[in-house]
């Protein structure tokens, strides 16, 4: 009888271990919910992101997936509006094969999704989400941004402007009317006030996001005769604005800063003169010295061009770098677990203080889950090798120079900047 009992107990224990092992075995596939714009004006920015995702995931799966598990991407179109996006997020999160969300593009959507992600305890990596409001007042456990906010980018724009044009008085701002545009206006103004207090903002325009026509706004800008114009238009808005403003000589009468300008160079760059200040958010430009040096990046650029007939723009790099970062998180977690498939909390632990080499530089995840990346700014420059202008006279601003530290209120930090820092700032063309 006792032997039977021992055998039974052994069997039960084995079954128990077996099922525990079955639970921690690798899943058949892992689902990534990938949120981007594939319709409407924003698609001009969102599709390069989607294209990059398709390419990167195909490559990852071709080399065996993550930890040997294939990745299944599920694309969600942010064009359906916030309500639909949130509903989709909830729906995807209720399916346990979906382990990670790569969301979102629009600031509005990511601000709406962050609390939802936290509620549902779904690890969410914001691949684009530029608004600094994301981590301003709230601390999240499951929400990360694998890129920078726009605060460092806009600060870098001002530094570059002052480097190439230290003397000016009248400044105009035209940004889309939503958090991203409004915040840009504030950040730009405060940085300018701190570093060049005698500058005067003569007109500020916030047309609706997705407006098809800017002709009246352009007339308004032209009549105000500003020496500098700042805009963080993106997507089709940026392309429309450039097309409509160029014949009106806006780009020759003023020094224009197109903070997200690189994303439109291939489509509308031909109408731009040389000398327009353009930026990327972060460091994702395919012709930077770093991008040209890294073999993995050159391969990515080449296969992107083959697949999609154009070169990848910075949204593509943001997406690609995010996916590689998530892969790194998984690999770190799997290594820590000695092969056991990571739970959500394992992923969170692995993401802590993550530092990865990206296609175009390095990404560091801070303790507030925000990303630290260098910022690149340049000017348009014709290049005989390409039918569109490229970014020339580039500067690579180190992340720590232009990013407010953890816990600091960005505006307060900006107010403390002194014009004297211009002496220690890298010069245009120094990034070779």
């Amino acid at each position: 009888m006792t032997r039977l009992k021992i055998a039974a107990t052994a069997l039960l224990l084995a079954a128990g271990f077996g099922s525990a092992a079955a639970q921690t075995n690798k899943p058949a596939e892992i689902g990534f919910g990938i949120f981007t714009f594939t319709s409407g004006p924003a698609a001009a920015y969102g599709m390069p992101g989607r294209n990059a995702a398709e390419l990167v995931i195909k490559q990852i799966n071709a080399s065996g997936g993550i930890g040997g598990v294939p990745v299944k991407p599920i694309y969600v179109d942010e064009g359906q509006g916030s309500a639909g996006v949130i509903a989709e997020f909830r729906r995807l999160a209720s399916d346990s094969t979906n382990e990670v969300m790569i969301a979102a593009l629009s600031s509005a959507n990511c601000l709406a999704l962050a609390p939802v992600a936290e509620q549902l305890q779904m690890p969410t990596f914001m691949w684009n989400c530029d608004t600094h409001q994301l981590f301003l007042k709230d601390r999240y456990k499951y929400v990360y941004r694998t890129n920078s906010s726009t605060v460092p980018e806009f600060i870098a724009d001002v530094l570059y402007l002052l480097s190439v044009k230290p003397d000016f008085k009248k400044v105009a701002i035209i940004d889309p009317d939503y958090a991203f545009g409004r915040d840009a206006g504030v950040i730009f103004k405060e940085t300018l006030k701190a570093l060049k207090p005698d500058a005067e903002i003569v007109v500020e325009l916030y047309p609706k996001l997705g407006s098809p026509s800017y002709n009246t706004e352009i007339s308004r800008l032209v009549s105000a005769e500003p020496e500098v114009i700042f805009s963080n238009f993106w997507g089709a808005d940026l392309e429309n604005f450039v097309r409509q403003a160029a014949p009106r000589e806006l780009f020759t009468r003023s020094t224009v800063i197109l903070a997200l300008g690189e994303s439109a160079l291939q489509h509308v760059g031909t109408v731009l003169p040389d000398g327009v200040i353009v930026g990327v958010i972060g460091d994702g430009y395919w012709l930077t010295p770093d991008a040209r040096r890294k073999p993995q990046t050159k391969a990515f650029v080449e296969s992107y061009r083959q697949s999609f007939n154009e070169y990848p723009v910075f949204p593509s790099f943001k997406m690609a770098n995010t996916l590689y970062a998530v892969k790194a998180v998984y690999e770190k977690a799997i290594a820590t677990n000695k092969g056991r498939w990571p739970t959500r909390d394992d992923l969170v632990a692995a993401a802590k203080d993550l530092k990865v080499d990206t296609l175009t530089g390095t990404l560091v995840l801070r303790e507030d889950n925000d990303g630290l990346v260098d910022q690149i700014v340049g000017v348009t420059k014709k290049d005989p090798a390409y039918p569109f202008p490229v970014m020339g006279e580039m500067v690579r601003y180190p992340a720590t120079m232009v990013t407010p530290p953890v816990g600091a209120d960005p505006i307060a930090w900006i107010k403390d900047l002194k014009p004297a820092i211009m002496a220690s700032v890298p010069k245009p063309g120094s990034y070779k």
Binding site: P41, P212, N215, E217, S223, E239, P247, E249
Partner: protein
């Protein structure tokens, strides 16, 4: 200084021109057929899309100058494709029925056409600014103007005047006026009222599509274009008085100017202005600036 106000005037008139095409088509259809066509904006969108597509093909084939002709050919195609078809089927069924039902039928049509656009043209934004580029720019008072904008103003005037002349002088115009004034009597004297309705509706579609085609070189064409333009056209038509061509012209100018003035003096409220004006006008004069209860006229 006049020079400072010239850009304002040109912008206001160009803006007014574009909205005039759509609003006058809407008001014409309402006047003859007595239906407020919610789908009117969709024809605008189709005109824009088609013009961009044909223009791009022509430019690709090496005939860029021809892209100017697409601005007129595309609306013709849209009118031929949709005008008689929709009037004969959907609209004819709604004559005499309650207004709520008529508006709903056109709303249903709007929903269908919105998706038809997405299926035919996709959801990516389009643009083709070749016609605008071809016409170049003028320098007036130190400010650069697009000759295209000036063309729009001239065309709007031409269309407005032609419509007026057409209605007053031509045979078909007199038939339309007869049908508008008293349909029953018109039928009694042998006027083919159904034909008149079909023609009037098709002209309305043409005008809306023309607005879209003419706007397309200066805008980005993307889904949602129709929805935005129709509510603005409603506002303009209501302000001018439903069914009044001169009303539509004046209301367009009013809205064009107030919008542009807003951008110069109170940019934050620029989108509110048309609807605020609509509200104020309707409260004071529910029939619009030119409308009236009594005689049915056009």
């Amino acid at each position: 200084m006049i020079a400072n106000y010239l850009p304002l005037i040109v912008d206001g008139l160009a803006d007014a021109a574009l909205i005039f095409f759509v609003a006058v088509g809407l008001t014409l259809v309402f006047s003859v057929v007595r239906i407020l066509n919610v789908a009117h904006g969709s024809f605008y969108a189709f005109g824009a899309y088609l013009s961009v597509v044909i223009g791009t093909i022509l430019a690709g084939r090496g005939w860029p100058l021809l892209s100017l002709t697409t601005l007129v050919i595309s609306p013709l195609l849209v009118a031929l494709a949709f005008g008689p078809l929709i009037e004969r089927t959907l609209l004819r069924w709604t004559y005499g029925r309650p207004e709520a039902l008529q508006i709903l039928v056109t709303f249903g049509l709007f929903l269908i056409l919105e998706d038809l656009q997405k299926v035919v043209f996709g959801v990516q934004p389009y643009s083709q600014d070749l016609p605008m580029q071809l016409l170049g720019t003028s320098h007036i008072g130190g400010i650069v103007y697009l000759n295209y904008q000036l063309l729009l103003i001239v065309l709007a005037l031409a269309v407005g005047v032609s419509l007026r002349v057409l209605l007053k002088k031509s045979r078909i115009g007199k038939l339309i006026i007869a049908v508008v004034a008293d349909e029953e009597l018109a039928r009694t004297v042998g006027i083919d009222a159904p034909r008149v309705f079909m023609l009037a509706f098709s002209v309305g579609v043409f005008l809306a599509a023309l607005g879209g085609a003419l706007a397309s070189p200066t805008i980005g064409v993307a889904p949602g274009l129709g929805a935005e333009i129709i509510v603005l056209a409603f506002a303009v038509a209501a302000i001018g008085g439903l069914g009044q061509i001169e009303g539509a012209a004046l209301a367009s100018i009013l809205i064009g100017f107030t919008r542009v003035a807003a951008i110069y003096y109170a940019p934050e409220f620029q989108p509110v202005v048309p609807y605020l004006v609509m509200l104020l006008v309707l409260i004071v004069r529910p029939y619009g600036l030119f409308g009236s209860i009594g005689l049915r006229r056009i």
